[in-house]
Symmetry: C2
């Protein structure tokens, strides 16, 4: 293959990969890993099913690539801040509410991938956040009432209070501004200096 054709081919390949990730994200968010169908993903990405196996080895491989990409972009967008965790929780809620696929992907991941090898992108996101909480505690900028892992779990639990409710709850919930205000206020109270 000549240099002249490598350029366009590489661009095509990266576009195909991006289309497969996008189509995979929508399919996995809707149906989960077991329920997702590679032929639907291939059709939505306007490419051949064989490309999924060529780029990602398997449906599971595509899910892992989708989830790692999702985890990275969500983390960048939400921006973890140990010095203002109430505001961070508010941004998390915005992320969940702006795109319901986010909590769906997280939930499928927990339900269907628990027995698989840990995903480096997830492990490192956990550890980076815990280390930053540890430093904030050591420097007196954050309550030491709970261990860093408990703070992370509580902040994420509170931020996900609405996104993890049963569908029947939807009709009963207050408007988004009140949902957001409750989450931000609750995190502030939990972590208030005594």
């Amino acid at each position: 293959m000549s240099q002249l054709t490598e350029g366009p081919r590489t661009r095509d390949s990266s576009r195909t990969r991006a289309r497969l990730l996008e189509a995979g994200r929508a399919e996995f968010a809707e149906y989960g890993i077991a329920g997702a169908r590679v032929d639907r993903i291939a059709a939505a990405a306007d490419c051949n099913k064989a490309m999924i196996y060529a780029y990602f080895n398997s449906k599971d491989g595509l899910f892992d690539a989708v989830f790692a990409a999702h985890a990275c972009s969500f983390q960048e967008k939400i921006n973890f801040d140990p010095d203002d965790l109430p505001a961070y929780a508010g941004r998390l809620l915005d992320g969940f509410e702006d795109d319901p696929a986010v909590m769906r992907l997280i939930s499928w991941y927990r339900l269907e991938r628990a027995a698989s090898a840990p995903m480096p992108a997830v492990t490192s996101a956990n550890e980076t956040r815990l280390e930053r909480l540890r430093v904030a505690q050591r420097e007196g900028r954050l309550t030491t009432r709970y261990e860093p892992a408990a703070i992370l779990a509580l902040v994420h639990g509170i931020a996900g209070s609405w996104a993890t409710r049963n569908p029947e709850f939807g009709a009963l919930q207050p408007d988004r501004a009140a949902r957001r205000a409750a989450v931000v206020d609750a995190v502030a109270r939990v972590l208030a200096a005594d």
Copy 2:
């Protein structure tokens, strides 16, 4: 059919139904609605696959019966108490930790059943709790800082803080006593009288 044979047949039928509900619970908790296989459920319940359709109409019908039974028994066991929501959150955490199938069923329900008709057992559980919170607020026994629906969402969000974390988080979490203490304390702070 004579009266003499109806007794034993009814007992058999109720035993078969109970075995199907139990086998269905385990199968749905593991694989979700789409992933569950009626032949595995029938085999685990030691009965014919046709019995599932005879008793529950469909796999979806069996899931609804499993979930309604689960919701009832879980509510009875956990005992909602608007006058001591921190203790209630601690009991919820115990329920989640004693039986991981509980949060799995709740999560599959949210992911896979959102487009279906509301389930009366779930709607009525939501409404009963909200009404009790409303009364507690009216009688001055509970903070009015948040709407009743926000209190319910926050208490459930906090109680589920650990059960909804990603699998990689497991290795980082404190022991169960510390997890429970963090949850109970967080709910107390969120709902403390000012």
